[in-house]
Structures are given as structure tokens and as C-alpha cells.
């Protein structure tokens, strides 16, 4: 199964000092599949995707993209493998020193694929794909609402036509309607590009809207995988407690005084 997977993670470990965040993660994401990783705050969901992206160095294990281990590849090859990944950050992470259009076309401009005039026009097309007018391109990111910033960040993520897309808490901080709108755009974009995706979220409604498959991260390990549609019906005690938000159960919140 792992040989056919677009992304295959095996025995991935990451600790920060004494705190072991990822403890032997095994995860396969098949081509064209939308995987949703759920789990409590601070359980290492963001660390997992940052390890795959190379933003955090994993301690050990393997991360295979198209069958090639990025942790053992040469730096140039690892960059090439990772260049097919588009990322939507939790807070958008738009470059506030640049206008919106330049944010959207940043990847194209950075690789000298396109002139600035063409990039401005192209940015308008990507903004249209996320439901924004081309005139928004002239604004600064600080002038946009949270929902609009997420849309612009999504437009920036899809501009490079990535084969793999990561979404970090795509609906956090948005009202339920805007959350549903962003989820709809994510599903549309991923389908249009035929991408494989991994989204991390606490939002069960969002997880079911954007995910084909779900995985539960708990105590540094993937403790359950299954169809995203069955999240709320899972027999797994950890998943059941988390998805229904019950205080009692195997998940004990660490309280610090």
C-alpha cells in the first residue's frame, strides 16, 4: 500500500527537549485523497506537516513523497520534491509588505516564471477562483477581513498548481458560514487541481466537509484512521471522546499550575 501512496510517513519521531511530540507516526495518503488529521491542541498536528514540509527537522523516521525519502534525499532533490506542496497557513501568513496581487503571484514571480505585468493579470484569475474581485489585488493584506485573508492565502497556495496541498486549521477564527465557504473553496480547488491533500483541524464539521479519510493523532501516534464521514460514529474511545467533546474519557487534558 505504501508504495502507491503519494505521501508515506514511517516511524516519524520528533521531540523538543524532553517533550516527545511525534512518537513513531505512520501515515499513508493515497493519490487524489483528502486526508484530515484531527487531534487536540498541542498534540503535534502542525509539527507533523511542518516535518513533511521541511520547516522542522525530524529526529528520525522516513517521509516518502512519490516513493522518495525526502529525509535521505540531497538538499536539491528534497527541495524539488517539496516544491510540489502548496500550504495554507493557519493565520494566512500573507506578506504584509506586499499588495494582495503580489502575494498571490509570489511563487510565480520568485521562480521568474512570469513577468510582473502577466503576474498581476494571473493573480486576478486566481482571486476569481476563490470568489474575490481582481480589484482586491491592489489592497494590502492588512485591509482585508480574516475570511478574505484566508481566501487570498488559498489563492496563493493554488497559484503554483501544487500536486499536494496542506491546510493548517483552515477555518479557525472564522464564523460558521465563512468556515463553510472556505471549506467549499478548498474542496473545489483540490478537485480542480487533482491534488492530494492533508488538512489538520479541530473542527468536526470542517473535517467531514473537506476530508475523504481521517486520522486521529493522540500522544504522538496515529491511533485511528477511517472514512471522514464516520468520524462521529467511530467506536474508538479516543476518537469518540474528541469528536463529541466529552470531558470524560481516555483523553486527559494536561493542566499546569
Amino acid at each position: 500500500m505504501s508504495t502507491a501512496a503519494k505521501i508515506s510517513v514511517r516511524g516519524l519521531n520528533k521531540a523538543f527537549g524532553d517533550k516527545k511530540v511525534l512518537d513513531g507516526i505512520d501515515l499513508d495518503v493515497m493519490p487524489g485523497t483528502a486526508m484530515v488529521v484531527i487531534g487536540g491542541s498541542g498534540t503535534g498536528k502542525s509539527v507533523l506537516i511542518k516535518c513533511i514540509l521541511g520547516l522542522i527537522e525530524a529526529d528520525s523516521g522516513s517521509i516518502l513523497i512519490d516513493g522518495e525519502d525526502v529525509l535521505k534525499a540531497t538538499p536539491a532533490r528534497a527541495r524539488a520534491l517539496r516544491s510540489q506542496i502548496g500550504m495554507l497557513f493557519q493565520n494566512g501568513a500573507l506578506f504584509d509588505s506586499l499588495p494582495v496581487w503580489e502575494n498571490v503571484a509570489f511563487g510565480l514571480l520568485a521562480q521568474n516564471k512570469i513577468s510582473r505585468r502577466d503576474a498581476r493579470a494571473k493573480a486576478g484569475e486566481f482571486l476569481a477562483q476563490v470568489g474575490l474581485a481582481a480589484s482586491v489585488g491592489e489592497l494590502s493584506p492588512a485591509e482585508l477581513s480574516g475570511g478574505m485573508q484566508k481566501r487570498v492565502a488559498l489563492a496563493r497556495a493554488i497559484a503554483g498548481a501544487p500536486q499536494i496541498m496542506f491546510f493548517d486549521e483552515p477555518t479557525t477564527g472564522l464564523d460558521p458560514i465563512m468556515g463553510a465557504v472556505i471549506d467549499g473553496l478548498i474542496v473545489d480547488c483540490v478537485k480542480r487541481l487533482g491534488s492530494t491533500s492533508i488538512a489538520i483541524t479541530h473542527d468536526m464539521a470542517s473535517a467531514q466537509r473537506i476530508g475523504d479519510v481521517a486520522a486521529m493523532l493522540y500522544e504522538g501516534r496515529i491511533v485511528w484512521t477511517g472514512p471522514a464521514a464516520s468520524l462521529l460514529d467511530s467506536d474508538n474511545e479516543v476518537v469518540s471522546q474528541f469528536t463529541h467533546g466529552r470531558r470524560e474519557g481516555p483523553i486527559q487534558m494536561a493542566l499546569r499550575r
Partner: protein
């Protein structure tokens, strides 16, 4: 025994931390400089950084050097008039400004203005994931954010100091002619009589080094900042303090190199 050794252990740890920090800054600088000759080159970023570090610092540097030249002329007059050596004032002003005060004061002013701005911008980019976002868009953050600023620092500060030198001399000239009753032509003649090319060039070389240090400290502390708004504030303070201390320390070393013989 522990009570005796604990201050020694604390001293050892402090020395270890300082050496570790120096090594880290050195590697950071080398990493940024390694991108100098490798494409792509971000000319637009370099131009913008020259504007931010140089052009927008012009008012504060101009005022500082102008008033410094004025004060120098006044102080030199009150001191040298006791020995009937007033004619040396012009030389004192021009040599002090070009060799020392121009580059050092411009450096300190730019460290406070542009160095702090670089650290704050970079620190905010770090804590809001913008630097990580650059990596995901196939852009090396060191190449895009740090290298252009280092180049800009090396280019912009000598230009600022050249302007500052002229204004400093002009400040001395204004005080000498308008307040102290010097003849303008004689003052200018005395100004250029003992001024050598080395005096100006050494000041401009110092300015280049200071520009590099200011940009490096701003980038390093901003790049490594963490912990939200408080972390960004701490990075900004560290950038200004470390750049200022290094400017003063390096000024002594460079003066030793240029003029000890």
C-alpha cells in the same frame, strides 16, 4: 565546595553562551553571504532596502551630523582660543567628522532607526509564519530577506556618511563664519589644507562595515525571534543594542588598523 564553584560554573556557562552566540551569528552571516553569487538575484529587494536603510535615514543623519559639526566648531573654539590656535578649528572639524563622528554617529542613528525596523519586520514575519510561507513558495528566506539587506547596508551607509560629512563640515562653517567671525574663504582653505583622501575613505570604509553590522544584527535577531509581540520587542532591543556596541568596538579596531602607523 558547591558554593565556591557555582560562580565559576555560572561564569563558564556565560562564556559558553557568548561563544555559542558568536558562532551562530557567524554561521548566519556566512549563510547569507553564500547567496551573493548564486541566482536568482532580488534586485528590487536590494533597491528597496537601500531606500529603507539609506534614503529614509537621511533626515536623522543629516540633522545629527550638521549639529555635531556646529558643536565641534563651538567647543574647539572655546578650547583652542586659550592657546591662540583658532585656525586649527576647521581642520579639527573636518578630520573629526570624516574620520570618526560621521561614520559612528550615522551608524548609531541608523542602528536605532533602520536596524530596529529590520528586526521588528523580520521578527513579525517569523512569529506570523511568513518566513515559513516563503520556504513553501520555493523561496529561500535567507536569500530573499537577509542577503539584500546586507548588500543594502554596505551600500547605503557610506552614501549617508558622505552626505553627513558634507553637512558636518557645513555646520562647522556656519558657526565659524556666522557666530565666531571667521572669514569664509579662509575657513574653507583651512578645511581642505590638511584633509587627505585617506581621511574620507577610511570613514567610508568604516561606514560600509557598520552598515553590514546593522543589517546583520537586525536580520539575525529578527530571524531568530520567537514568542509573539514580546519576542519581537526583545529582538528589536537586542538588534539595536548589539549593533551599537559592535559599532563602537569595531570603530576602535578599524581606527587602529587605519591610523596606528
Amino acid at each position: 565546595m558547591n558554593a565556591v564553584l557555582s560562580p565559576v560554573a555560572a561564569l563558564g556557562r556565560a562564556v559558553q553562551n557568548v561563544l555559542g552566540l558568536i558562532g551562530e551569528v557567524f554561521i548566519f552571516a556566512l549563510s547569507a553571504l553564500s547567496h551573493l553569487l548564486r541566482p536568482p538575484f532580488y534586485w528590487r529587494r536590494i533597491g528597496r532596502s537601500v531606500m529603507e536603510i539609506g534614503y529614509f535615514s537621511l533626515p536623522v543623519v543629516a540633522l545629527t551630523t550638521l549639529f555635531t559639526g556646529m558643536v565641534l566648531a563651538l567647543q574647539a573654539y572655546t578650547g583652542f582660543s586659550r592657546f591662540n590656535a583658532q585656525s586649527a578649528i576647521a581642520s579639527i572639524v573636518v578630520l573629526s567628522v570624516t574620520r570618526e563622528l560621521g561614520p559612528v554617529l550615522a551608524g548609531l542613528m541608523v542602528a536605532g532607526r533602520a536596524g530596529a525596523a529590520i528586526a521588528a519586520e523580520m521578527g513579525t514575519m517569523r512569529v506570523t509564519d511568513q518566513i515559513d510561507a516563503l520556504s513553501t513558495l520555493s523561496t529561500n528566506p535567507m536569500k530573499y530577506l537577509v542577503t539584500p539587506r546586507l548588500i543594502a547596508g554596505v551600500i547605503a551607509l557610506p552614501l549617508l556618511v558622505a552626505v553627513g560629512d558634507i553637512l558636518g563640515v557645513m555646520g562647522g562653517y556656519l558657526v565659524a563664519t556666522l557666530k565666531l567671525g571667521f572669514n569664509g574663504t579662509d575657513y574653507l582653505h583651512n578645511t581642505f589644507q590638511y584633509l587627505r583622501t585617506d581621511d574620507v575613505v577610511s570613514g567610508l570604509i568604516k561606514a560600509s562595515v557598520f552598515g553590514f553590522i546593522i543589517a546583520l544584527m537586525g536580520c539575525y535577531h529578527g530571524f531568530k525571534s520567537k514568542g509573539g509581540a514580546q519576542g519581537v520587542g526583545a529582538a528589536t532591543t537586542s538588534a539595536v543594542v548589539s549593533a551599537s556596541v559592535l559599532i563602537l568596538g569595531l570603530d576602535y579596531l578599524l581606527t587602529q588598523v587605519f591610523f596606528s602607523s
